[in-house]
């Protein structure tokens, strides 16, 4: 951690707002810690006249970071009312990132669902190339994120396949949940898997991959459960003796299964 304060936010200006999908918006924000962000990490965003929420970083550029956020509750609803130029607050980055060192150079399968493409985006760009397969699904075509980047990824050799739960007249691609994109070759042709998306999607995808023979310690997920303080103190993300925000949010499936044993209530 740098000399920047992990407790006090720094003011951050909204440089640009982009509406990615109905109810999902990306904010490009100034942040002095932009060069410390690793793929899979999050920051704490202060919403004016509300409180702080933990959001994973979906993009990094010189002097700025991008956060891709879904409007789901009180704080995010208030956030969506702030215009470009508005001042928010940021501190971080926090959390255990994707194990890039381990994944680099291996054949990696990334399975993302819905907003799950946001915490994986930096990783996807980092690993982009012929060794990367990206399977991405959303509820319907309008909810597919970062559509303008698909061509560039394919050009770099990424095996990118899309699916939607329900299509529309213009949709020509696969229809079905993202697990329908997995086949018998999937496991034999990849060394590691990275899964991110709604809890139920991660659960079923991970389950399918394990059934197909991929070992649990080679599957990585991001459990963005209910994090609040982001620094392992407030207790809300605790499962057993692990804190999702500080011991995670990235965990191997093997670690998650161990947590499941110890936990009270849901892990997923």
């Amino acid at each position: 951690m740098s000399a920047r304060d992990h407790e006090l936010p720094e003011p951050s200006r909204i440089i640009r707002i982009r509406d990615d999908a109905p109810g999902i918006r990306s904010f490009v924000l100034t942040f002095s810690g932009w060069d410390e962000v690793k793929p899979g990490q999050m920051v704490k965003l202060h919403v004016p006249e509300h409180w702080e929420i933990p959001i994973s970083v979906s993009g990094v550029d010189e002097g700025t970071i991008t956060l891709t956020i879904a409007r789901v509750g009180v704080a995010t609803t208030a956030l969506f009312k702030v215009p470009e130029g508005g001042i928010l607050g940021l501190r971080g980055p926090f959390g255990r990132p994707w194990p890039v060192q381990t994944l680099w150079g291996s054949r990696v399968l990334v399975v993302a669902g819905g907003v799950g493409l946001a915490p994986t985006r930096l990783l996807v760009h980092e690993l982009s190339g012929p060794d990367l397969t990206l399977l991405y699904g959303a509820r319907n075509p309008s909810l597919l994120l970062f559509r303008d980047e698909y061509e560039a990824l394919r050009d770099q050799g990424v095996d990118l396949r899309l699916t939607v739960d329900s299509g529309d007249e213009s949709w020509k691609g696969n229809v079905g949940v993202v697990t329908t994109l997995l086949n018998e070759d999937t496991v034999s042709s990849h060394d590691y898997a990275v899964v991110a998306g709604p809890p139920i999607m991660m659960y079923f995808t991970a389950k399918t991959l394990v059934e197909m023979g991929l070992p649990a310690d080679r599957i990585f997920v991001t459990l963005e459960n209910h994090m609040k303080c982001g620094i392992g103190l407030c207790g809300h993300c605790r499962i057993g003796d692990k804190y999702i925000c500080a011991d995670g949010p990235v965990f191997s499936l093997a670690e998650v299964l161990a947590l499941q044993e110890r936990s009270a209530g849901e892990v997923w």
Binding site: E49, E52, I53, I87, K228, C229, L233, H236
Partner: protein
């Protein structure tokens, strides 16, 4: 432990006066006109007779308050609120609370990110424990190894015994404070400990690895009336929620895990939608990382019948 000293009441008074001279506000238990014990500015002529413990965990409150403003937006900058780290010395703190303090020290300062506010207040908190002669109602501190004398979490620990008081220090500033007084034998202290332990029944067995007991959780869940007292009274509870303070500020406040809202996610789903699951979460924590010290407060404050007393009674043992 450093050293062993023999103290008279006058020695204690002069030690506390020395602390005052160093700029500490010395706080000591005082019973008010309605019979409640509260920490007040220490007055040299009184020894607190009949004091068991503060009902409210004032020692924890001094380093981790129930509610605390954190920062606010001032123009285009975020400014922290002052953490209020005035020098305070607690005289007659109890072993359970000191043990709890050692736990919260580790929790707030010894893990991922040290909490600067806690640390600022902790540095200026001087703890003088008076080991206990009488168990508190519904307590089981001996089983939790947090009583009747403290193993950790204090600067000085004083043992009442037949010939007056014995004292030992855990920190160097504690050792320095009692250095002027007469030496005693370490064996004297051991004897004082055994003597005190005789007054404390040991009927509770705490296992740090609790087996999931769905029936027990269900039973307790039906009798939890969701007041949050067990959290606000507990010297080792540390969970908090961040919320709006005034118009432009943010505060944190202790957040009971027995509440459904604690476990609710932004979209409305819940990680632990039933009271039984929340009871499980709490007990798994208290007997695990949460480090229950057996002070008994939760059982006194519980408006239903779902605190430690109920837990142990259902398991076949009994607190004090």
């Amino acid at each position: 432990m450093r050293g062993a000293k023999k103290l008279s009441w006058q020695d204690i008074v002069s030690a506390l006066k020395a602390l005052e001279n160093e700029g500490y506000e010395v706080l000591s238990p005082k019973k008010n006109r309605w019979g409640d014990w509260l920490p007040e500015r220490w007055i040299p002529d009184e020894a607190p007779e009949g004091f068991l413990n503060y009902y409210f965990p004032f020692l924890k409150e001094a380093v981790f308050p129930t509610e605390e403003p954190l920062f606010f937006l001032h123009g285009d900058r975020f400014l922290p609120y002052d953490p209020d780290s005035r020098k305070r010395a607690f005289f007659c703190a109890r072993p359970c609370d000191a043990t709890a303090l050692a736990y919260t020290d580790h929790f707030f300062m010894g893990r991922f990110f040290p909490d600067s506010r806690y640390r600022a207040r902790r540095r200026n908190l001087f703890v003088i424990v008076m080991a206990c002669q009488v168990p508190c109602p519904k307590s089981f501190c001996t089983a939790a190894k947090a009583g009747p004398w403290a193993r950790k979490g204090f600067d000085i620990q004083i043992y009442p015994c037949r010939e007056g008081w014995l004292a030992e220090a855990l920190t160097s500033r504690g050792a320095e404070l009692i250095s002027p007084y007469a030496d005693a034998d370490r064996d004297d202290i051991s004897r004082a400990r055994r003597e005190l332990e005789r007054g404390f029944p040991e009927e509770v067995h705490i296992s740090r690895h609790q087996v999931k007991d769905a029936e027990l959780n269900e039973w307790l869940g039906l009798r939890c009336f969701r007041c949050g007292a067990c959290v606000w009274l507990c010297p080792t509870c540390t969970c908090y929620n961040q919320s709006q303070f005034g118009k432009d500020g943010v505060k944190r406040e202790q957040d009971p895990c027995l509440f459904e809202g604690y476990h609710r996610l932004a979209g409305g789903a819940s990680l632990r939608p039933t009271q039984a699951e929340r009871m499980d979460f709490r007990y798994e924590c208290k007997f695990g990382v949460g480090a229950c010290v057996g002070c008994g407060r939760c059982s006194v404050g519980c408006i239903g019948y779902a605190a430690m007393e109920a837990y142990f009674e259902r398991k076949g043992s009994r607190t004090t």
